[in-house]
Symmetry: C2
Subunit: 152 residues, 2 copies
């Protein structure tokens, strides 16, 4: 008994929107599934597995190009797994860099807010910090495939 889910059920199974699945198909991340007589997509168990793989990788912040690479590695299971390892390590480094950067931001914001003891805008510490303080150059603070994954 194979699954044969409609796109809506597949989306619920994967915890994403219907459009997201169609988008993955459009960019070639997922294969075009079979269609019903009425032209509606029908997903087999294998399709769902692939979709879940993508969603889990996204949940770990992997960018789509990296996921594409991981998927094609999966299709050659006899190859050594160094490549997959390397992709994960790049991802980890990106995450670590982002954490450090955000922790710096947090410190700045906390200092800003702590020192602001009410009063008028004219002596607002928040505004003052932004108006006068030079933040040290934080170039190269973003993950390689830049822009963070949006929600999920």
């Amino acid at each position: 008994m194979s699954a044969r889910l409609t796109i809506g059920r597949a989306a619920r199974a994967a915890g994403c929107k219907v459009q997201t699945i169609r988008y993955y198909e459009q960019i070639g991340l997922l294969p075009a599934p079979a269609r019903s007589e009425g032209n509606q997509r029908l997903y087999e168990t294998e399709d769902i597995r692939r979709l879940l793989f993508v969603r889990r990788a996204r949940a770990l912040g992997f960018p789509l190009p990296a996921i594409r690479d991981l998927l094609s590695l999966c299709d050659e299971p006899e190859q050594p797994c160094e490549a997959a390892d390397a992709i994960a390590k790049v991802q980890l480094e990106g995450v670590e860099r982002r954490i450090e950067w955000l922790q710096e931001l947090r410190r700045e914001l906390e200092r800003m807010i702590e020192q602001c003891r009410g009063g008028s805008i004219a002596d607002c510490r928040v505004i003052e910090v932004l108006s006068r303080q030079a933040i040290r150059d934080t170039a190269d603070n973003e993950v390689p495939g830049r822009g963070v994954s949006s929600r999920l």
Copy 2:
């Protein structure tokens, strides 16, 4: 002696690209500056100050709509500063949420990578985790004005 910088010099002063400044003008974040006879933008000291304000706020991760609000607060310095404070606090909360989420990701990635002791894709721990493990639902992990600030 006023500054009167060309857009290129202004960009260098602010550590951003020329196009970024034009973009800020286009979306109404910065006022249209004076122009030279040859129709080139000329930035006064005050314009540069405003630009630097925007860039510093961006460096702290504030989204442009929040920066717009902060800027209009600056224009009424006799108002109480609670509004500015609130914006900063929202930003801080967003940063904290993102840090926590990224720390979870880091743990997952580290575990994945540690447990992968070479071999073939077939027994690669990285692939296996993505194939089989269900990550607990991490909805609502992104900052309110979602999508992270890109570089700088």
